[in-house]
Amino acid sequence: MNAHAVGGMPEITYNFAYLDEQTKRMIRRAILKAIAVPGYQVPFAAREMPMPYGWGTGGVQVTAAVLGPKDVLKVIDQGADDTTNAVAIRGFFEKTARVATTTSAVEATVIQTRHRVPETPLAEHQILVYQVPIPEPLRFLEPRETETRQLHALAEYGLMHVKLYEDIARHGHIATTYAYPVEVAGRYVMDPSPIPKFDNPKLDDCPALQLFGAGREKRIYAIPPYTRVRSLDFEDHPFKVQRFAKPCALCAATGVYLDEVILDDKGGRMFVCSDTDYCNGRQVAGHRGEMAAPVGEGA
């Protein structure tokens, strides 16, 4: 290690993208297997990362394994580029891999995301990396890991429908709104990570490679490009995505996922795009919502 003193402190150098080459090889093998068997959870030897579990240790390891020096990285946290998790992970790879980073979903070649899929359609040259807290969609119905593996192996997914049945029995409609189970390539049932079900249709037939990393649970799974992804439902209660009564208050976009922002303690609220990059892009292009700043005042 070429540690030369700067101001009395030794400068630390990292291997490219933090992980050592053998670890990245191991993760790449798991990723290749995951791509070969779409939706199947491949175990891998997840490493301790310099961040707490639940902050994207799985996603970071997958990103580190697929990242090259010429890649352009974007990190999304709940749709936003400027929240703690996104800023921290972006900074992590700027420091350890010296890759270019961006907030633009169009410019990025690797996008690591927590809980959202960008509104901008993805392209073939892009990789979307999801951070996954609990990879097992059957976990809350069947706590035994040995049993859930059997159920996956034999494609016994009646249990998943029991959950949807319970939703309808209790609420009159399927009340699962995030981490909504999907069937991948007609075989494995998969947890799409806690993205809103609004984003489920974007997983289907997506041109980009989609990788899912769960650090604590040590699992990687994948959806290869142009793969059929179907959200589970009943014939008489078909899958539906959330609808919003009003367009985005800043960019007037419709058909996008909106966040509710409380403005005061008198019931004031606004609905804005959860995808900040998409919203900014539309505002720059001149779209104005009802609460947007007048032109010229700047954002």
């Binding site: 119905l141 009646g158 049945y165 009943f234």
Partner: protein, 258 residues
């Protein structure tokens, strides 16, 4: 009843280390027949049930079952997928403790509907209608369909467990002390219900019990077990009224007359 057996056990043995669970048991069960396995605690009844239902692996011997297509298959030769399909469609298993056989956090309707969804039912309305139908058959009020079994009494839970098992119209049901832990009046109603359903659906049942009254009421034939061996078999009334083995005589004479 037909003359081709539904299930054949041949020389079944099970050892737990040096201890014997079950030794050289052979028996046949015919379609539509109720077979009671009686004996005192520790006589190997539950081990035998475990072996017949393939939950336990035998140390020696084998179990064959006539599949719906008429083929007689050695259960040990079936793949895991085939075996599980068999267990959730053609078989039922009613356990002594309903909490082991039910999903306690899932509503009554979901419990009954689970097997239907497992065999590919994907229409909520149809699943619910079928569940309501079955709840009525086991005398659970339709307005309890969305309650979970934690809110049910012991007798109701046991009836729900029966509905959950019978919804796919199995041909063979294993019952392990289904009336154990219930008070006498509830027991009587449950037995009545089981008897009615068995006759109506033409089920074959293998029921394990230490209660001779249950065997008398439900079963056509019975086997008496002691120390892991079958010591007497025969028509239920014949065994109970005219027991040949000294141990069976002891069992029958130790029943308290009400």
């Amino acid at each position: 009843m037909t003359d081709t057996p539904l299930l054949i056990a041949d020389g079944l043995s099970k050892n737990y280390g040096n201890r014997i669970g079950c030794r050289d048991v052979s028996l046949e069960v015919y379609p539509g027949e109720v077979l009671a396995v009686v004996g005192e605690s520790g006589s190997g009844k539950s081990t035998l049930l475990g072996l017949l239902s393939t939950e336990l692996e035998p140390s020696a011997g084998r179990v064959s079952y006539r599949l719906r297509d008429g083929r007689l298959a050695d259960l040990a030769s079936l793949g895991a997928a085939e075996k599980r399909l068999l267990m959730r469609t053609d078989w039922g298993f009613v356990r002594q403790n309903p909490a082991d056989g039910l999903r306690m956090a899932v509503s009554a309707g979901g419990n009954v509907g689970e097997r239907l969804m497992a065999v590919g039912w994907r229409h909520y309305g149809h699943i619910r209608d079928e569940a309501l139908d079955w709840l009525a058959k086991v005398e659970i009020a339709g307005d309890r369909i969305d309650d979970d079994p934690r809110a049910f009494s012991g007798g109701m839970r046991q009836r729900l467990q029966i509905a959950r098992n019978l919804v796919t119209r199995p041909r063979l049901v294993f019952m392990d002390e289904p009336t154990g832990g219930l008070d006498v009046s509830v027991q009587a109603r449950l037995l009545d219900l089981i008897r009615g359903l068995v006759a109506e659906l033409g089920l074959a049942v293998i029921i394990v019990t230490h209660d001779l009254a249950v065997a008398r009421l439900l079963s056509h034939r019975m086997v008496v077990m002691r120390h892991g061996r079958v010591i007497e078999t025969g028509i239920t009334d014949q065994v109970l009224d005219d027991p040949r083995e000294p141990y069976t005589q002891l069992l029958v004479s130790s029943v308290l007359a009400a």
